[in-house]
Amino acid sequence: MPRDGAGFVARWQRRTVALFRTPALEREMAEEMRLHIEMEAQEIARTRGLEADEALRQARLAFGSAERFKEEGRDARSTRWLEDLASDARYAMRTLRRAPGFAVAATLTLALGIGATTALFSVVHSALLEPLPFGDPAHTVVVWTGSFENQGSWMSYDEYELLTYEPHVFDAVGVYDVETKSITGAGEPERVHAAQISQKTLHVLGVAPMLGRDFLPEEDAPGTNDVALLGYSFWQRHFAGDPSAIGKRIEVAGKSNVIIGVMPRSFRMPLDYDEKGVTEILTPLAATDSDQGAIPGPAVAPGGGSHGLYSVAHLAPGVTVAQANQELARVASRLIDEGVYPGPDRFRLTAVPLRAQISGSLKPALMVLLGAVALVLVIACANVAGLLFVRGERRRRETALRATLGAARPRLARQFLTEGVVIALVGGAFGMFVAWLGVVATRAWAPPSLGLVAEVSLNGGVLAFALATTIGTVLLFALAPALAATRVNASEALKDGGRGATTGRARLRARQLMVVGEIALAVVLIVGGGLMIRTVQGIMAIDPGFRSEGVLTMELSLPTSRYPDGASVTAFFDALRHRVERLPGVQHVAAARLLPLAAQMGNWGMRIEGYTPPPGQTSPGDWQIVTPGYFETMGLHLVAGRWFDERDQASTPLVFVISQQLANKYFAGRDPLGGRIRLMSDSTAWATVIGVVRDVEHNALTAEPNPMFYAVHSQYLKEAGFTPRTMSLAVRTSGDPLALAHPVRAQVRAIDPQMPVAHLRTMDDIVSNSIARQRFSMLLLAAFGVLALLLAVVGIYGVVAQLVAARRQEFGVRAALGATPRALVRISLRDGMRQTAAGLAIGAVAALMLTRLMQGMVYGVATSDLVTFVLALVITGVVAMAACYLPARRAGRVDPASALGAE
């Protein structure tokens, strides 16, 4: 039949109205039918002369089930399916509200399953799969030097030159130096991470400026290196993203440079992925052999020369990383044979591909976590399936009843399905929220040293996958019991009250096994989390040798342009100390070369009077340079002698304070006080030991302290030939250290308005950052432990509930024969407890084996720590038992009459 447009519109209008006015329409329909019956009754009364009551009864009989006709009346309208959907959804919400336990368990399981999977996969993706911002990362390597006990160390200029001549495995090699530099002449003075790069470096990395140009070869030469490339965010901050910044001048560490280009936003140097931060200024290295202390050409100075550079290289076509490393090993052993490096095994060269360099150490851990997460997703799906199954079983009677009352089977199936959809939608929405929360938390808590992990973003593809998997499971398992329940012969189901549930035995067995596995997994993860908690607790309890609370720190770097010599540097810090000392609330103030736990400290060769190192060895000490007041400011413990004070000046006798380690190692059996030390050079003067302090955990709380000496800042020129220009100021206060930030800064500015202040933070922050990795592992494992436990709870709840439902008849009989409710509860509990016990036992054994993998992560606690294991088992056991008890209680409430009545 041809459709005229107007009719079509009118039809849809009617349908739309019908859809939105459903309750009103229902009423109209009912009224219309009531009228019909009444009219019919009158007619019957009139024609057959019956009483009104009898006539009405007959009219009703003739009319039949009004409900069914209403249904068919609705069916006749084509919006029927939409109306049904809306009413099914309303019905589902209503029934779910009546079963809050089921609704909460199902949505929670979905939310956690979807959320955890997505968040964690996003982390793995960002760390391992996200493309790196380099042109050819697979064929670009970082080259490290090092002796065999010290891998991954800096390179000397001679060694870099060697790389360009000898091994024919690279087609380009770059070398660079990194430093924090003060930038002035572009608004607010600032300290930024800067790299001085050889001309080929950006070419090696396969990156180019997004604005302007790369350095020219002639610009990478001494005297001409007055150009600079800006990092994207620096350009944004100081030039508001204005392209005309190119051609302008900025002062890099007091030296004027022309801006020739801006790097793209994604730009990173290969080592920018650790805690150091992103490089924001690039200047030419402009190295010469003479100022690098190197021999021109391929020759290498004895011992390699001065090490302090980083090197990157691009593999020649067809060369693999393994081949490159073979060749590098050959070159290294040749140099050792030629006697360039003292003793055997004192030198090695290693090429590490960029991907491995940036996230290599994370890969195994992330892969393990990814496995755990996949498992979690499977468990979540299984749990939801189980919950829906139990629910289907429990509603068999209701379903059968409604089927006899005339509800069509597809309609009933659809109602179950709609309920599944509602759960899936709510669970999915919560899941997305959990995923987002997980990503935000990872961003907030991931230590920067985890590199790319800190830059994680929610991965849409994974979210879609997790949603599809879980929702697919929900729909599948919502439908299965619906079909099973509706296929059931209604009269039979009503008669035997659901004894047919025993056909689910095999499925029950599978689910019981699953629950055992879930509990075991929970135990393993909780043990893991517990071990990390104990580790963090243990580390926090370590005495670092200083008192971190109440100390504010900041870094200052004095440029040669305005502070040409050591005396001017010392004068600046003296003036600053005296000004800050007078600020209200300040107890002590001092400056130090490196703050403990803030930066790794290297060592310096020393000669100790009266001590001869064993052949082939030296007597090094970590070098800390401080101003008077440092020991008081940091709260160090004096063991013997005295601390530095204002008497110790550039002009007074040279003095050292040494650490206990140093005293033990080099002054064994002697009184260190009065002993003499000189730094590894014949031209420098001897210094006298005046004090011994307790060891400070400088490199890490968990590291064995190295021998360390403390020198006076103003005396270092005489002792080592230079005065450190980058120092950290530490201020001890009785109040809130951050409240001092502004006043102290004002004092810095009062002396030198051009002086930028960097790394303003409290000592407490530094300490807490130093264990960020462990804390992150702890949070991650603890979160997973809780997640696994929750899922196990849902699983065991579902199984026990199913068992109780299936044994309703049996319980009825038992109750009728005199079993007390308590006995019935005990019987049902026994099943759940058997699985709990099995899960705990398997979990304990698995944890014992798996936590061995955590050997490198834990500190101060054995991976088989009894307390942790017992606690994990107790927690899991108690929680699992509680989860059993809830549904088991239902067994005690079985009413023998109703359970048996239908027999």
Binding site: A10, E32, L35, H36, E40, F63, F69, E72, S78
Partner: protein
């Protein structure tokens, strides 16, 4: 449900359209009218009547409105729409064609 077979598939629609052709009627009125017009031969089962009414209304062949019945009751009255009239003419022609064809077959010797 044997009584449903009393009416040939599709004839109910035709009868309803015919019943409401002269004047608006409510549901019971339609069933009564069909019964009377057929001299009690055709009994319209209520279970078929109302779905058919809603179906016809949904297709725009009849329109409904609430009014007061001759008995003084609020009732839903069904009226033939323009499309309904057109459809009635078509259906009537179809039915005649069909009837004649069946008659000819039955009279064939």
């Amino acid at each position: 449900m044997a009584d449903r077979a009393d009416l040939l598939q599709g004839t109910l629609d035709l009868l309803i359209l015919k019943a409401v052709l002269p004047a608006p009627l409510h549901g019971w009125g339609i069933s009564k009218r069909i019964r009377e017009l057929s001299y009690d031969v055709l009994q319209v089962n209520q279970g078929s009547l109302y779905p058919a009414l809603y179906r016809l209304e949904d297709r725009g062949l009849i329109r409904s409105s609430w009014g007061i019945s001759p008995e003084g009751r609020r009732a839903k009255f069904y009226t033939l729409s323009a499309a309904g009239k057109k459809r009635f003419a078509e259906e009537k022609a179809n039915w005649r064609l069909f009837m004649n064809a069946v008659e000819q077959i039955l009279h064939a010797t």
